[in-house]
Protein backbone atom coordinates (compact mmCIF):
# COMPACT_ATOMS: atom_id res chain seq x y z
CA UNK A 1 0.00 0.00 0.00
CA UNK A 2 1.30 3.42 -0.97
CA UNK A 3 1.34 6.62 1.01
CA UNK A 4 0.63 9.94 -0.70
CA UNK A 5 4.23 10.31 -1.79
CA UNK A 6 4.13 6.82 -3.19
CA UNK A 7 1.10 7.63 -5.31
CA UNK A 8 2.86 10.78 -6.53
CA UNK A 9 6.02 8.82 -7.27
CA UNK A 10 4.12 6.23 -9.30
CA UNK A 11 2.33 8.92 -11.30
CA UNK A 12 5.64 10.66 -12.00
CA UNK A 13 6.62 7.57 -14.01
CA UNK A 14 3.87 8.44 -16.51
CA UNK A 15 5.54 11.72 -17.38
CA UNK A 16 7.52 11.79 -20.63
CA UNK A 17 10.31 14.10 -21.67
CA UNK A 18 8.95 17.31 -23.20
CA UNK A 19 5.56 17.22 -21.48
CA UNK A 20 3.66 20.28 -20.39
CA UNK A 21 1.82 19.24 -17.23
CA UNK A 22 -0.95 20.72 -15.09
CA UNK A 23 -0.97 19.52 -11.49
CA UNK A 24 -4.05 19.86 -9.30
CA UNK A 25 -4.07 20.56 -5.58
CA UNK A 26 -3.19 17.81 -3.07
CA UNK A 27 -1.38 14.62 -4.10
CA UNK A 28 -0.91 15.89 -7.70
CA UNK A 29 1.21 18.77 -6.37
CA UNK A 30 3.59 16.21 -4.86
CA UNK A 31 4.26 14.68 -8.28
CA UNK A 32 6.61 17.59 -9.05
CA UNK A 33 8.99 16.24 -6.42
CA UNK A 34 9.46 12.92 -8.21
CA UNK A 35 10.08 13.87 -11.83
CA UNK A 36 13.07 11.75 -12.89
CA UNK A 37 16.38 13.38 -13.80
CA UNK A 38 16.81 13.95 -17.49
CA UNK A 39 13.08 14.37 -18.04
CA UNK A 40 12.34 17.95 -19.05
CA UNK A 41 8.88 18.99 -18.03
CA UNK A 42 7.14 22.36 -17.85
CA UNK A 43 4.49 22.80 -15.19
CA UNK A 44 1.51 24.99 -16.01
CA UNK A 45 -0.38 26.81 -13.32
CA UNK A 46 -3.79 27.82 -14.64
CA UNK A 47 -3.74 31.22 -12.98
CA UNK A 48 -1.28 32.17 -15.71
CA UNK A 49 2.19 30.67 -15.56
CA UNK A 50 4.23 28.19 -17.57
CA UNK A 51 7.40 27.01 -15.90
CA UNK A 52 6.39 26.83 -12.25
CA UNK A 53 9.39 26.49 -9.97
CA UNK A 54 9.70 25.39 -6.34
CA UNK A 55 8.57 27.35 -3.29
CA UNK A 56 10.72 30.44 -2.68
CA UNK A 57 13.39 30.56 -0.01
CA UNK A 58 12.11 32.09 3.19
CA UNK A 59 12.09 35.86 2.90
CA UNK A 60 11.88 35.75 -0.90
CA UNK A 61 8.12 35.25 -1.15
CA UNK A 62 6.47 37.48 -3.75
CA UNK A 63 2.77 38.30 -3.30
CA UNK A 64 2.49 38.70 -7.08
CA UNK A 65 3.76 35.19 -7.79
CA UNK A 66 1.45 32.38 -6.74
CA UNK A 67 0.17 29.12 -8.17
CA UNK A 68 -3.43 27.99 -8.65
CA UNK A 69 -3.41 26.74 -5.07
CA UNK A 70 -2.59 30.32 -4.00
CA UNK A 71 0.80 29.23 -2.67
CA UNK A 72 3.85 31.43 -3.13
CA UNK A 73 6.12 29.92 -5.79
CA UNK A 74 8.97 30.87 -8.12
CA UNK A 75 9.59 31.01 -11.84
CA UNK A 76 12.31 29.15 -13.74
CA UNK A 77 14.49 30.14 -16.69
CA UNK A 78 12.15 30.06 -19.68
CA UNK A 79 8.99 30.82 -17.71
CA UNK A 80 6.23 32.90 -19.21
CA UNK A 81 3.25 34.73 -17.75
CA UNK A 82 -0.15 35.19 -19.39
CA UNK A 83 -3.71 36.08 -18.53
CA UNK A 84 -6.49 33.69 -17.49
CA UNK A 85 -8.13 33.64 -20.91
CA UNK A 86 -4.92 32.53 -22.61
CA UNK A 87 -4.28 30.03 -19.83
CA UNK A 88 -7.58 28.26 -20.39
CA UNK A 89 -7.19 28.79 -24.12
CA UNK A 90 -4.08 26.64 -24.07
CA UNK A 91 -5.89 24.09 -21.92
CA UNK A 92 -8.86 23.95 -24.32
CA UNK A 93 -6.63 23.71 -27.38
CA UNK A 94 -4.85 20.72 -25.79
CA UNK A 95 -1.39 22.24 -25.56
CA UNK A 96 -1.09 20.65 -22.11
CA UNK A 97 0.05 17.05 -22.49
CA UNK A 98 -0.96 15.71 -19.10
CA UNK A 99 -3.35 16.75 -16.35
CA UNK A 100 -3.19 15.19 -12.91
CA UNK A 101 -5.95 15.84 -10.43
CA UNK A 102 -7.75 14.47 -7.41
CA UNK A 103 -11.27 13.07 -7.30
CA UNK A 104 -14.05 12.06 -4.93
CA UNK A 105 -15.38 9.47 -7.37
CA UNK A 106 -14.48 8.02 -10.75
CA UNK A 107 -16.81 5.84 -12.77
CA UNK A 108 -15.98 2.90 -15.01
CA UNK A 109 -16.77 4.96 -18.12
CA UNK A 110 -14.35 7.71 -17.09
CA UNK A 111 -16.75 10.18 -15.45
CA UNK A 112 -15.31 12.15 -12.57
CA UNK A 113 -16.89 13.87 -9.56
CA UNK A 114 -14.62 16.11 -7.53
CA UNK A 115 -16.27 19.42 -6.75
CA UNK A 116 -19.55 19.15 -4.90
CA UNK A 117 -21.17 17.18 -2.11
CA UNK A 118 -24.91 17.86 -1.85
CA UNK A 119 -25.81 19.30 1.55
CA UNK A 120 -22.31 20.58 2.18
CA UNK A 121 -20.94 24.05 1.52
CA UNK A 122 -19.78 24.10 -2.10
CA UNK A 123 -16.59 26.02 -2.70
CA UNK A 124 -16.66 25.80 -6.46
CA UNK A 125 -15.18 23.91 -9.37
CA UNK A 126 -12.33 26.32 -10.03
CA UNK A 127 -10.61 25.21 -13.21
CA UNK A 128 -11.40 21.52 -12.84
CA UNK A 129 -14.31 21.40 -15.29
CA UNK A 130 -12.26 23.14 -17.97
CA UNK A 131 -9.33 20.80 -17.40
CA UNK A 132 -11.29 17.55 -17.54
CA UNK A 133 -13.37 18.65 -20.53
CA UNK A 134 -10.32 19.52 -22.61
CA UNK A 135 -7.25 17.55 -21.58
CA UNK A 136 -6.24 14.69 -23.83
CA UNK A 137 -4.54 12.75 -21.04
CA UNK A 138 -5.87 12.86 -17.49
CA UNK A 139 -4.66 10.84 -14.52
CA UNK A 140 -6.62 10.82 -11.29
CA UNK A 141 -4.68 10.57 -8.03
CA UNK A 142 -6.89 9.53 -5.13
CA UNK A 143 -7.52 7.11 -2.30
CA UNK A 144 -9.25 3.91 -3.37
CA UNK A 145 -11.97 4.22 -0.72
CA UNK A 146 -13.52 7.18 1.07
CA UNK A 147 -13.47 7.87 4.81
CA UNK A 148 -16.59 5.75 5.24
CA UNK A 149 -14.75 2.82 3.65
CA UNK A 150 -16.78 2.94 0.43
CA UNK A 151 -15.20 2.44 -2.98
CA UNK A 152 -14.51 5.58 -5.01
CA UNK A 153 -14.23 3.53 -8.23
CA UNK A 154 -17.86 3.09 -9.17
CA UNK A 155 -20.14 1.76 -11.89
CA UNK A 156 -21.62 5.27 -11.93
CA UNK A 157 -20.75 8.37 -9.93
CA UNK A 158 -23.25 9.25 -7.20
CA UNK A 159 -22.00 12.82 -6.71
CA UNK A 160 -22.58 15.71 -9.14
CA UNK A 161 -20.21 15.30 -12.06
CA UNK A 162 -17.22 17.44 -12.96
CA UNK A 163 -16.83 15.86 -16.38
CA UNK A 164 -17.95 12.89 -18.42
CA UNK A 165 -16.00 10.12 -20.10
CA UNK A 166 -12.67 11.90 -19.71
CA UNK A 167 -10.46 9.99 -17.23
CA UNK A 168 -8.01 7.49 -18.74
CA UNK A 169 -6.02 6.34 -15.71
CA UNK A 170 -6.43 6.20 -11.92
CA UNK A 171 -3.62 5.75 -9.42
CA UNK A 172 -4.59 4.95 -5.82
CA UNK A 173 -2.75 3.72 -2.75
CA UNK A 174 -3.60 0.20 -3.93
CA UNK A 175 -3.34 0.10 -7.69
CA UNK A 176 -2.86 1.59 -11.13
CA UNK A 177 -5.97 1.17 -13.24
CA UNK A 178 -6.73 2.11 -16.83
CA UNK A 179 -10.24 2.99 -17.86
CA UNK A 180 -11.09 0.97 -20.93
CA UNK A 181 -12.61 2.68 -23.97
CA UNK A 182 -15.51 0.22 -23.75
CA UNK A 183 -15.90 0.88 -20.01
CA UNK A 184 -14.51 -0.78 -16.90
CA UNK A 185 -11.35 -0.53 -14.80
CA UNK A 186 -8.43 -2.60 -16.01
CA UNK A 187 -5.94 -3.45 -13.27
CA UNK A 188 -2.46 -2.59 -14.54
CA UNK A 189 -0.33 -2.76 -11.40
CA UNK A 190 -0.77 -3.56 -7.71
CA UNK A 191 0.87 -1.62 -4.92
CA UNK A 192 3.50 -3.64 -3.05
CA UNK A 193 1.87 -6.25 -0.83
CA UNK A 194 -1.69 -5.68 -2.12
CA UNK A 195 -3.57 -8.65 -3.57
CA UNK A 196 -5.82 -8.71 -6.61
CA UNK A 197 -8.59 -10.04 -4.41
CA UNK A 198 -8.36 -7.08 -2.07
CA UNK A 199 -8.46 -4.64 -4.98
CA UNK A 200 -11.53 -6.46 -6.31
CA UNK A 201 -13.15 -6.15 -2.92
CA UNK A 202 -12.76 -2.35 -2.74
CA UNK A 203 -13.55 -1.61 -6.40
CA UNK A 204 -17.29 -1.24 -6.90
CA UNK A 205 -17.09 -0.74 -10.66
CA UNK A 206 -16.32 -3.55 -13.09
CA UNK A 207 -12.73 -4.64 -12.62
CA UNK A 208 -10.78 -6.51 -15.29
CA UNK A 209 -7.88 -8.35 -13.73
CA UNK A 210 -8.03 -11.66 -15.61
CA UNK A 211 -4.35 -12.02 -16.31
CA UNK A 212 -3.38 -10.70 -12.90
CA UNK A 213 -1.24 -7.63 -12.65
CA UNK A 214 2.35 -7.15 -11.58
CA UNK A 215 3.42 -5.41 -8.45
CA UNK A 216 4.56 -1.92 -9.26
CA UNK A 217 8.23 -1.04 -9.22
CA UNK A 218 8.79 2.44 -7.89
CA UNK A 219 12.53 2.91 -8.12
Amino acid sequence: MLDKNGIAKRIAKEIRDGYYVNLGIGIPTLVANFIPDGINVVLQSENGLLGMGPFPFEGEEDADLINAGKQTITTLPGSSIFDSAMSFGMIRSQKIDLTILGAMEVSENGDIANWKIPGKMVKGMGGAMDLVASAKNIIVAMQHVNKAGESKLLPKCSLPLTGVNCIRKVVTELAVLDILPEGGFKLIERAPGVSVDYIKQVTAGRLFADDGAPEMILD
Binding site: E58, A63, D64, I81, S87, G124
Partner: protein
Protein backbone atom coordinates in the same frame (compact mmCIF):
# COMPACT_ATOMS: atom_id res chain seq x y z
CA UNK B 1 -2.93 61.40 -26.15
CA UNK B 2 -6.12 61.16 -24.07
CA UNK B 3 -5.63 61.62 -20.33
CA UNK B 4 -7.45 59.09 -18.12
CA UNK B 5 -6.11 60.12 -14.73
CA UNK B 6 -8.45 60.68 -11.78
CA UNK B 7 -7.40 61.84 -8.33
CA UNK B 8 -8.01 58.61 -6.45
CA UNK B 9 -10.27 55.68 -5.66
CA UNK B 10 -13.21 57.74 -4.39
CA UNK B 11 -13.41 59.74 -7.58
CA UNK B 12 -12.82 56.66 -9.72
CA UNK B 13 -15.82 54.79 -8.28
CA UNK B 14 -18.04 57.86 -7.92
CA UNK B 15 -20.83 56.57 -10.16
CA UNK B 16 -20.95 52.98 -8.97
CA UNK B 17 -24.49 52.69 -7.64
CA UNK B 18 -26.61 50.32 -5.61
CA UNK B 19 -27.36 47.35 -7.85
CA UNK B 20 -24.38 47.81 -10.20
CA UNK B 21 -22.65 44.80 -11.76
CA UNK B 22 -18.90 44.84 -11.18
CA UNK B 23 -16.01 42.78 -12.44
CA UNK B 24 -13.10 42.60 -10.03
CA UNK B 25 -9.70 41.37 -11.17
CA UNK B 26 -7.45 39.11 -9.15
CA UNK B 27 -6.88 35.46 -8.34
CA UNK B 28 -7.24 34.75 -4.64
CA UNK B 29 -5.75 37.85 -3.05
CA UNK B 30 -3.21 38.29 -5.84
CA UNK B 31 -3.71 41.31 -8.08
CA UNK B 32 -6.95 42.55 -6.53
CA UNK B 33 -8.06 46.20 -6.73
CA UNK B 34 -7.46 46.90 -3.04
CA UNK B 35 -8.03 50.63 -3.17
CA UNK B 36 -11.25 50.40 -5.14
CA UNK B 37 -12.60 47.86 -2.66
CA UNK B 38 -11.75 50.11 0.28
CA UNK B 39 -13.52 53.00 -1.46
CA UNK B 40 -16.58 50.85 -2.18
CA UNK B 41 -16.78 49.84 1.49
CA UNK B 42 -16.51 53.50 2.49
CA UNK B 43 -19.17 54.52 -0.02
CA UNK B 44 -21.47 51.77 1.23
CA UNK B 45 -23.11 50.90 -2.09
CA UNK B 46 -25.39 47.89 -1.78
CA UNK B 47 -26.89 45.02 -3.76
CA UNK B 48 -23.81 44.66 -5.94
CA UNK B 49 -23.32 41.78 -8.34
CA UNK B 50 -19.64 40.89 -8.31
CA UNK B 51 -17.99 38.89 -11.08
CA UNK B 52 -14.69 37.74 -9.60
CA UNK B 53 -12.85 34.44 -9.64
CA UNK B 54 -12.80 34.37 -5.82
CA UNK B 55 -14.51 36.18 -2.98
CA UNK B 56 -11.54 37.22 -0.85
CA UNK B 57 -11.06 36.20 2.77
CA UNK B 58 -12.99 37.38 5.81
CA UNK B 59 -10.96 40.50 6.38
CA UNK B 60 -9.47 41.29 2.98
CA UNK B 61 -10.54 41.72 -0.61
CA UNK B 62 -14.20 41.21 -1.47
CA UNK B 63 -14.57 39.76 2.05
CA UNK B 64 -14.60 43.37 3.31
CA UNK B 65 -17.64 44.09 1.16
CA UNK B 66 -19.31 40.90 2.32
CA UNK B 67 -18.81 41.97 5.94
CA UNK B 68 -20.80 45.13 5.15
CA UNK B 69 -23.44 43.09 3.28
CA UNK B 70 -22.89 45.06 0.10
CA UNK B 71 -22.95 42.04 -2.19
CA UNK B 72 -26.18 40.57 -3.48
CA UNK B 73 -24.66 38.05 -5.84
CA UNK B 74 -21.25 36.54 -6.51
CA UNK B 75 -20.34 35.03 -9.88
CA UNK B 76 -17.16 33.06 -9.24
CA UNK B 77 -15.38 29.80 -9.86
CA UNK B 78 -14.19 29.20 -6.30
CA UNK B 79 -15.38 30.84 -3.09
CA UNK B 80 -13.67 28.94 -0.27
CA UNK B 81 -11.71 30.43 2.62
CA UNK B 82 -14.41 32.79 3.79
CA UNK B 83 -16.61 32.10 6.85
CA UNK B 84 -18.85 35.16 6.50
CA UNK B 85 -19.44 34.22 2.89
CA UNK B 86 -20.58 30.78 3.96
CA UNK B 87 -22.87 32.18 6.64
CA UNK B 88 -24.59 34.58 4.21
CA UNK B 89 -24.91 31.88 1.59
CA UNK B 90 -26.49 29.37 3.95
CA UNK B 91 -28.85 32.01 5.38
CA UNK B 92 -29.98 32.95 1.87
CA UNK B 93 -28.73 36.56 2.09
CA UNK B 94 -26.22 35.96 -0.66
CA UNK B 95 -26.74 34.45 -4.07
CA UNK B 96 -23.86 32.56 -5.70
CA UNK B 97 -23.39 31.44 -9.28
CA UNK B 98 -20.48 29.07 -9.65
CA UNK B 99 -19.02 28.74 -13.14
CA UNK B 100 -15.88 27.04 -14.44
CA UNK B 101 -12.79 29.23 -14.22
CA UNK B 102 -12.03 29.04 -17.94
CA UNK B 103 -15.63 29.88 -18.78
CA UNK B 104 -15.40 32.89 -16.46
CA UNK B 105 -12.23 34.11 -18.19
CA UNK B 106 -13.55 33.46 -21.67
CA UNK B 107 -16.90 35.19 -21.05
CA UNK B 108 -14.87 38.26 -20.06
CA UNK B 109 -12.74 37.91 -23.17
CA UNK B 110 -15.85 37.54 -25.31
CA UNK B 111 -17.17 40.87 -24.04
CA UNK B 112 -13.81 42.53 -24.68
CA UNK B 113 -13.61 41.12 -28.19
CA UNK B 114 -17.20 41.96 -29.12
CA UNK B 115 -18.22 38.33 -29.44
CA UNK B 116 -21.73 37.77 -28.04
CA UNK B 117 -21.12 34.12 -27.20
CA UNK B 118 -18.42 31.48 -27.18
CA UNK B 119 -18.30 27.68 -27.19
CA UNK B 120 -16.55 25.67 -24.50
CA UNK B 121 -16.61 22.00 -23.57
CA UNK B 122 -16.29 22.84 -19.86
CA UNK B 123 -19.33 21.60 -17.96
CA UNK B 124 -20.83 19.40 -20.68
CA UNK B 125 -22.71 16.57 -18.96
CA UNK B 126 -22.72 18.36 -15.60
CA UNK B 127 -25.20 20.59 -13.82
CA UNK B 128 -23.38 23.59 -15.32
CA UNK B 129 -24.93 22.60 -18.66
CA UNK B 130 -28.50 22.77 -17.39
CA UNK B 131 -30.65 24.99 -19.58
CA UNK B 132 -27.77 25.80 -21.91
CA UNK B 133 -27.51 25.23 -25.63
CA UNK B 134 -25.25 22.31 -26.52
CA UNK B 135 -23.67 22.10 -29.91
CA UNK B 136 -21.53 19.44 -31.49
CA UNK B 137 -18.47 20.36 -33.55
CA UNK B 138 -16.30 17.60 -35.04
CA UNK B 139 -17.82 14.99 -32.75
CA UNK B 140 -17.36 16.91 -29.51
CA UNK B 141 -20.05 18.67 -27.49
CA UNK B 142 -19.68 22.32 -26.45
CA UNK B 143 -21.81 24.64 -24.35
CA UNK B 144 -22.70 28.04 -25.72
CA UNK B 145 -21.87 30.61 -23.07
CA UNK B 146 -22.68 34.31 -23.31
CA UNK B 147 -20.38 37.31 -23.00
CA UNK B 148 -20.60 39.07 -19.65
CA UNK B 149 -22.30 42.42 -19.43
CA UNK B 150 -20.74 44.40 -16.58
CA UNK B 151 -21.26 48.06 -15.71
CA UNK B 152 -17.77 48.46 -14.29
CA UNK B 153 -14.51 46.55 -14.32
CA UNK B 154 -12.11 47.23 -11.44
CA UNK B 155 -8.60 46.08 -12.19
CA UNK B 156 -5.23 46.36 -10.55
CA UNK B 157 -1.99 46.74 -12.49
CA UNK B 158 1.63 47.20 -11.54
CA UNK B 159 2.38 50.21 -13.73
CA UNK B 160 0.11 52.42 -15.72
CA UNK B 161 0.47 55.62 -17.69
CA UNK B 162 -1.67 58.72 -18.00
CA UNK B 163 -3.07 57.38 -21.29
CA UNK B 164 -4.44 54.33 -19.44
CA UNK B 165 -1.93 51.78 -20.69
CA UNK B 166 -1.35 49.00 -18.17
CA UNK B 167 1.47 46.59 -17.38
CA UNK B 168 0.90 43.73 -14.96
CA UNK B 169 3.52 42.01 -12.88
CA UNK B 170 3.91 38.24 -12.72
CA UNK B 171 0.83 36.16 -11.87
CA UNK B 172 -1.04 39.20 -10.58
CA UNK B 173 -1.98 39.57 -14.25
CA UNK B 174 -4.56 36.72 -14.09
CA UNK B 175 -8.10 38.00 -14.81
CA UNK B 176 -7.16 41.69 -14.88
CA UNK B 177 -6.48 42.13 -18.63
CA UNK B 178 -9.61 40.28 -19.75
CA UNK B 179 -11.81 42.16 -17.30
CA UNK B 180 -10.21 45.47 -18.29
CA UNK B 181 -11.38 44.80 -21.86
CA UNK B 182 -14.87 43.83 -20.75
CA UNK B 183 -16.17 46.63 -18.53
CA UNK B 184 -18.48 49.30 -19.90
CA UNK B 185 -16.42 51.56 -17.64
CA UNK B 186 -13.02 50.24 -16.67
CA UNK B 187 -11.25 51.62 -13.62
CA UNK B 188 -7.58 50.78 -13.19
CA UNK B 189 -5.59 51.25 -10.03
CA UNK B 190 -1.83 50.96 -10.29
CA UNK B 191 1.11 50.77 -7.95
CA UNK B 192 2.98 53.30 -10.05
CA UNK B 193 1.46 55.87 -12.38
CA UNK B 194 3.84 57.29 -14.98
CA UNK B 195 3.68 59.84 -17.79
CA UNK B 196 2.55 58.69 -21.24
CA UNK B 197 5.66 57.85 -23.20
CA UNK B 198 7.41 56.14 -20.30
CA UNK B 199 6.19 52.62 -21.03
CA UNK B 200 7.50 50.65 -24.00
CA UNK B 201 4.53 50.19 -26.38
CA UNK B 202 5.63 46.57 -26.88
CA UNK B 203 5.37 45.88 -23.14
CA UNK B 204 1.84 47.20 -22.66
CA UNK B 205 -0.55 44.38 -21.72
CA UNK B 206 -3.74 46.44 -21.75
CA UNK B 207 -3.93 49.30 -24.26
CA UNK B 208 -5.30 52.56 -22.86
CA UNK B 209 -8.39 52.45 -25.06
CA UNK B 210 -9.89 49.94 -22.63
CA UNK B 211 -9.25 52.05 -19.53
CA UNK B 212 -11.58 54.92 -18.68
CA UNK B 213 -10.07 56.01 -15.37
CA UNK B 214 -6.69 55.39 -13.80
CA UNK B 215 -5.15 56.32 -10.47
CA UNK B 216 -2.18 55.42 -8.33
CA UNK B 217 -3.38 53.45 -5.30
CA UNK B 218 -2.17 54.16 -1.79
CA UNK B 219 -0.63 51.71 0.66
CA UNK B 220 -0.80 48.40 -1.13
CA UNK B 221 -0.91 45.59 1.40
CA UNK B 222 -0.69 42.81 -1.22
CA UNK B 223 -1.49 40.17 1.35
CA UNK B 224 -0.21 36.63 0.82
CA UNK B 225 -2.89 33.96 1.28
CA UNK B 226 -0.63 30.91 1.61
CA UNK B 227 2.96 31.66 2.42
CA UNK B 228 4.84 28.55 1.30
CA UNK B 229 8.62 28.51 1.45
CA UNK B 230 11.50 26.06 1.33
CA UNK B 231 14.40 26.03 3.72
CA UNK B 232 17.78 27.33 2.66
CA UNK B 233 20.38 24.58 2.68
Amino acid sequence: MINKVVAGADEAIRDIKDGSTLMLGGFGLCGIPENCITALVKKGVKRLTCISNNAGVDDFGIGLMLQQRQVKKMISSYVGENAEFERQLLSGELEVELIPQGTLATRCMAAGYGMPAIFTPAGVGTEVAEGKEIRNFNGKDYLMEYAFDADFALVKAWKGDTAGNLIFRSTSRNFNPVMAMAGKITIAEVEELVEAGTLDPDHVHTPGVYVHRIFQGANYEKRIEQRTVRPRN
